[in-house]
């Protein structure tokens, strides 16, 4: 015999989901209760996961002596609390800047290879590498001229008119064309929510009605 959770879980899901969807009709109390519960649950989870991470990766190695140097990031992180005291709030800038420095450093160390040189290389060599037949040559030319036109569209030091303006407009059409699949993807992504919502309703109903 199935336990009560088998029946409760689908219906609980449908009830909460419907409470959120009820906003479509109008803003209401059930919607607000559901959203507040969601924010509260998410925040509670965030606090617990972060505390657990802080304890296991920051404090525990100091306590058991396996990595005493962890005292440095721990002290830096404690400085964040200074934000609550106006006299010492400047201290909170140190951990913020430390994190910014690490993130920027990690990113910059390989951004030139990945996002600058790599992309220029694959754009400029596309003619020699990909142009096997007439279709390949057209494809390669479209990519090169599309990239150049799109890049020129974002240059502001020269007025975009005449032949130059036509070329930047050509680049803009490429930008708009690239937005097409992105928006179609967004639609598909959000349709997943509707599909799962309806599937959940049907699954919950099927527990009692043979549909």
């Amino acid at each position: 015999m199935a336990d009560i959770w088998t029946y409760l879980q689908p219906w609980w899901l449908v009830i909460v989901w419907t409470a959120i969807v009820s906003w479509v009709y109008k803003d209401n109390r059930i919607f607000r209760i559901a959203t507040v519960a969601m924010v509260a649950g998410g925040s509670a989870n965030g606090i617990l996961v972060n505390l657990d991470s802080y304890w296991n990766k920051g404090l525990l190695p100091i306590i058991n002596g396996s990595k005493l140097l962890m005292i440095v990031p721990v002290i830096i992180s404690i400085m964040l609390v200074a934000v609550f005291f106006s006299r010492y709030s400047w201290l909170a800038k140190i951990p913020t800047l430390t994190m910014m420095g690490i993130s920027m450093g990690v990113m910059l160390s390989s951004v030139i290879g990945a996002q600058i040189l790599g992309q220029i290389d694959s754009t400029m060599t596309v003619i020699s590498k990909g142009a096997g037949d007439a279709f390949g040559i057209i494809n390669a030319l479209l990519i090169v001229t599309g990239v150049v036109g799109s890049v020129l569209y974002f240059t502001y030091s020269k007025e975009q008119k005449g032949i130059y303006g036509m070329f930047t407009k050509y680049g803009r059409y490429f930008l708009l064309a690239s937005l097409g699949p992105t928006w179609a993807g967004e639609l598909s992504y959000h349709m997943d929510f509707l599909i799962q919502y309806i599937q959940n309703i049907v699954a919950a109903l099927r527990l009692f009605i043979p549909i």
Binding site: N45, V49, N56, S103, S110, S122, Y189, F193, I195, I198
Partner: protein, 288 residues
Amino acid sequence: MLNPWEVKGKTFLEKLGGLHWFWIGIILCVMVLIPTLRPLGLPISTTQWTVDAYNAIKNAPNDKVIIWEDQWNLGATAAAEAAHTAVMRILFANNKPFIMYGEALDTPQLQQYITAKVLKTAEAQGKVYGVDWIQLGFIAGGEAAIVSVAEDIRDAFKTDYFGTPLDQLPLMAKIKNYKDVGLVITSFGSTTWIESSVRQWYIKYNLPIVSYTMTGGATVSVAYYPNKGVVGIIEGGRGGAELEFLGKVFGIAQSQTDAKTLSFIAVAVMIIVGNISYFGTRGKKNNG
């Protein structure tokens, strides 16, 4: 308050474009409901990048470990669940050991939620936690966390998600750092996370990446495919359905594709109708 009966415009073409969105929502719901009640079995085509992703997973070196980083959270579950389930089942079916961790706060619970379902499938029978797969839990730091994991995984994680010390898990004997990794699967809800993965996993450590993006993110991933780091792309629910088909691990994605196909046809018709209304009334509005 919602008033579906409100129709804007005076002429037929204006009224066509002024139809309340409520009715469009109803049409979409019906299009989803029909195949949910009675699956239609519409055909599924596969894209080259999903085939490449499948082959990359299937042909990952047996003497190395697959690293699976998840960067999606609760809000993306509807889009991510199908492909996540399919990837996990394919990994089990092909005996590819993998280690997964989460870079969003609630990802470990979602990994756990999906793992519980996957463990009931045929592919997972006989698989042992700690030998065939490991779940490491959450790691903070975003892109910096990748470097931390790649340089020394034991330094990044002391225990797994359940608190077991890593040295007690047999699979951990096969891995110390990036040199023991054969493939990276990176799944994410943000469109641009793949840039971080390429910067670190590919540019720094020369490791191939399977980009498992929610739908919409493929347009960024494709800039690195097929020879700039990304060896295959799994695109959200659609990618999940393709993987289920390729790996013969049929599941929820297959049941969603009928609904998607029907609803997208409806959306395409609505876009055409909207454009007819727009262009049909534009001249009049400009003159008026």
